[in-house]
Symmetry: D2
Subunit: 359 residues, 4 copies
Amino acid sequence: MSSSFGTLFKVTTFGESHCPAVGAIVDGVPPRMTLTEADIQVQLDRRRPGQNKLGTDRDEADQVKLLSGVEFGKTLGSPIGLMVANKDQRPGDYGSMSQIPRPSHADYTYRAKYGTHASSGGGRSSARETIGRVAAGAIAEKFLLEEYGIEIVSWVSSVGAVDATGVDMETLTRQQVDGCDVRCPDAVAAEQMTAEILAAREAKDSVGGVLSCVCRNVPAGWGEPAFDRLEALMAHAMLSLPASKGFEIGSGFAGARQRGSVHNDPFVMKNGRLGTETNRSGGVQGGISNGEPVYFRVAFKPPATIGQEQQTVDFDGNPAVLAAKGRHDPCVVARAVPIVETMAALVLADLALIQRMRA
Amino acid sequence: MSSSFGTLFKVTTFGESHCPAVGAIVDGVPPRMTLTEADIQVQLDRRRPGQNKLGTDRDEADQVKLLSGVEFGKTLGSPIGLMVANKDQRPGDYGSMSQIPRPSHADYTYRAKYGTHASSGGGRSSARETIGRVAAGAIAEKFLLEEYGIEIVSWVSSVGAVDATGVDMETLTRQQVDGCDVRCPDAVAAEQMTAEILAAREAKDSVGGVLSCVCRNVPAGWGEPAFDRLEALMAHAMLSLPASKGFEIGSGFAGARQRGSVHNDPFVMKNGRLGTETNRSGGVQGGISNGEPVYFRVAFKPPATIGQEQQTVDFDGNPAVLAAKGRHDPCVVARAVPIVETMAALVLADLALIQRMRA
Amino acid sequence: MSSSFGTLFKVTTFGESHCPAVGAIVDGVPPRMTLTEADIQVQLDRRRPGQNKLGTDRDEADQVKLLSGVEFGKTLGSPIGLMVANKDQRPGDYGSMSQIPRPSHADYTYRAKYGTHASSGGGRSSARETIGRVAAGAIAEKFLLEEYGIEIVSWVSSVGAVDATGVDMETLTRQQVDGCDVRCPDAVAAEQMTAEILAAREAKDSVGGVLSCVCRNVPAGWGEPAFDRLEALMAHAMLSLPASKGFEIGSGFAGARQRGSVHNDPFVMKNGRLGTETNRSGGVQGGISNGEPVYFRVAFKPPATIGQEQQTVDFDGNPAVLAAKGRHDPCVVARAVPIVETMAALVLADLALIQRMRA
Amino acid sequence: MSSSFGTLFKVTTFGESHCPAVGAIVDGVPPRMTLTEADIQVQLDRRRPGQNKLGTDRDEADQVKLLSGVEFGKTLGSPIGLMVANKDQRPGDYGSMSQIPRPSHADYTYRAKYGTHASSGGGRSSARETIGRVAAGAIAEKFLLEEYGIEIVSWVSSVGAVDATGVDMETLTRQQVDGCDVRCPDAVAAEQMTAEILAAREAKDSVGGVLSCVCRNVPAGWGEPAFDRLEALMAHAMLSLPASKGFEIGSGFAGARQRGSVHNDPFVMKNGRLGTETNRSGGVQGGISNGEPVYFRVAFKPPATIGQEQQTVDFDGNPAVLAAKGRHDPCVVARAVPIVETMAALVLADLALIQRMRA
């Protein structure tokens, strides 16, 4: 169901944009792992808006509080409850918009689904829902790193028409990614991306982009054949993010244009075990990890909230003009970096625990 | 878990490439629906190999048998067991390959996962596993059509570098799609695609492609916010198919290059209800259907099995040369058409039943 | 998994005995339902210890706080996060016991399972975990009452060897049940039960008991054949409560001693619909509700924590004597009344939503 | 959902009383386990009706056929499809009854639920549905025995008012249980039970009974706290069986009448590990196995189908008299023995795999 993700390592989230708190319950976290709020805060800080000149001005210091499942800095094996209080609880804040469903927003579909809608902002479809996920993902990442040495790094690989090139995903670090506000490790492209975002802001417009992500040191054998292939769960995870429109693993859509003789990854010996010479498969064959880096890309549409006037109709069908007040993120991909990493970590942590059943 | 898909309308499949039978249990099928084996056979016949000059030569007449859940041509509401006997039960048939893991196949990863592997073919990763899905999907489609008027049509939109253009997804029918072997409704592109496939076969090679799919008449309100957004479940479904490498809904990756002012879909009145003027959203906003056609694309890599010699290593790391014997499908996308439709139907049928909880 | 219950109306809980807070996420609550913290507080107050002279002295005012899913007193359809802060956060409080696993407690088994254990009290096996359940159950009850007129009433039907008689479950109200501290509506038995509990306390001992529960106005047709029969889910729910040892529905174990000609419930006309003359079935036939009252009984063992000295061994196997310090509940069944009602409500709310898929 | 049981070791069943076949898909079976149809047939033969003079006359040789998941006598790790053809496919066979819902049968509730009902017999509520379970359970048992040395033995502990005594559950074997038709290892009681069953048959009546079951060598640490306690899953499993009305573990309902000082199980050293002197807990503390034998009892009502005339009403409410034609089982508990073992095995196999995630 909607608010839970995972089978053994399972996260359940709660929270809308302007309710008292957002948070999560994380079930299946292995016992005896060291864990503090600081471990989680790192990623929350990375997803926070208002960090730099490219984002919104709202400075929401999202402080996580651990409610259960940890004692004396160690996990107990019981579910971890955690929450982040909303400082900004103003239901009705966007009330003026409420008779006009915002184009490409969830206002209309929520009303169709529930016969009601949170008065403010995006309700449950708001990016604030991802706070619970990111907190859970930070725990998953810690587990994966400590138990398996898995490193997950995401970066911005395109903004609008600007593409990053020359990124070495074998060695890329989060520090490098965070080296600039736009979170693109290709310095030249980063500069162009920044210009593109500022231009969009200037035009009271928004711009989309693509995130890439690599997961290194995933052991061979993870992923369940048929419906729960590693790439299927990863696609599910990524398309569950607000504003995402596409997912591709390994060669992706470009691979569909190739011949098999070019696309296949021949086996070679690598450090005493079987590896592949190339990695068009993206680290997965038959839905199961093969020991090579798992990498994929996620497309995000331009944010739907723009300052420009839009011709549309209200809920009754009467012509209306809409222009968002205040300042809005012209581009969300930089902030999405820790969120993509989080979802990748949740998928892998769950598959790790499931594969243990065959130990 | 791996072998089940769905929450209320739930399919569980069984079967490898050369075992006695493949099949499925379909749970949650509404009672009192008319259903016969012929309703299911239609889609099984469409997915069958050996239908035309472009595929393999094996003529496997996959005859479905209903085992339970139906009486006097009506569903009972109890789980529907169904199976298709394998005529071709030859475990060990591909034995000669067994010491050399086939590049970009699942041989290596299955062994890493299970410590064993079906002696023949792809085992559970084989396309034969999709038979149970397609049979289940045919039931889902019937339910969706009869209860909601939903029409699902998939077609081949690219093969290799050849792209179809000018397809009108508002009116496209399966009959039109099946008008040529390559299942591309753009006659000019279809001819080029056919040439491309035959050229690949001639070169003992294979070629990838992309499928498009449209689901018309999906009511507004389907899809669960957060983790089970309509597009997340659809991406999960599509990436669970053998050889798939990417998924995009609506504007997809191209949308990530656009500005919000261009990308947004303004609302308009349509036939007395709110609709959108454009449909870059692909029929989904905030993870919930908005009443517009749901459409998406799925990338399939070129088949890994090719007749050309490939330099690789065996399980022990010794250099080896592999060249598939016999004849193999140089391109699978035409056969994947009913499989993509099936998975779309399974997603929608499940969301339909879940949304009823809010009736 | 462990911390979630239900398919569509789904509750996930968190919290141990002495962590910062306990709580739950309740998913699947229908939208547009009126709901306030007061609606939930009623049942939390009924489960609270220290309410009367029979319980422990700890007065923990468990104040629920709604964190999400409700706006302006109405549910949104999104998950409801809720929590109760623990006033008494003293990890290590029971430290003196920690080298000696308490007989018939979870100390030993938790350590066997997790390789660790919350330093204090029962950890996750503590009755405090049920707070999240009761809060969730109060929401489920409100839904069932408002949508279907369902009334759920539990009462204490035995304490030690004392059995209540003459309770009319067709008309019994919670007000009547709460008429005395022991929550037994048979005044004569209630007096004997009270004496039994005080005698046990005097002897630094504890005593077990049985709860009965009736659910009136459950519509015919709820419950899923095969694995998720109404009584199977109810048994699951009840045996998931701390200290429960048995469950029986309708005639239960006594019915196993009867002949079919005596046990069968013949059909009769009742208020214009088919009903049964007797109700040995307990409102369920073939796992599905038949419109008659659903009633069942749950056995609770005597609390394991007693003031008397017990000969046992410590974790290393050395002989040890254990005697609980402080005051402990000699009998928990009165407090279990709202908890049993809660679990019944969770089962029924979930089955209600599932049955809607067949609407 | 209804037709599946388990999280990792998961069985999904299909089949009604008179459809072409009944069967199951068993997912999560560990790879590389030896498995043949004969391993499964043993338990199917034990559940088969018509084995002796106490049951019905129908001799249905239920031959299992493995359809997938096994190759060369070894499991592959993929889902195991299996089926048993129904020799007796006579939909409509019991047609004469069809206008009169049989008292204490599922005829009425199925119609209320589905608006339809299998024309014959009990449909999905029929005991034939348990065939798929028993086949799956035989696989679970083999896994539990080979991996952990777990032995599961069930026996008839009462029929009507006759109770078995003196059964040593530490040593009891299935061979001993099968020593007499009534499957009660207490020879004196067995004789009285047989007389009771024959008397019931003579009177065109039926009689209920109780099954006991012990699971030996279950390691400490199995069972998930909160909702999925070992006893909760076991109760769920047992109450999902046709005709079951009650479940108790360890001291059960009798324990509810005791004092804590009597009921507690003090720890002692046993074979170099901590054990308990007594076992009123039934091998479970805090929902988790403690290494002692897990034992429980299940109450079964007398079969609803009896030859005596019963005064009832038809679906329209008109008075009617019903008397079952043909011969019917006067007592089902002997046949239920392998079914109870099966459900216990399914619960334990699933908990075993889940606990591995903490390895």
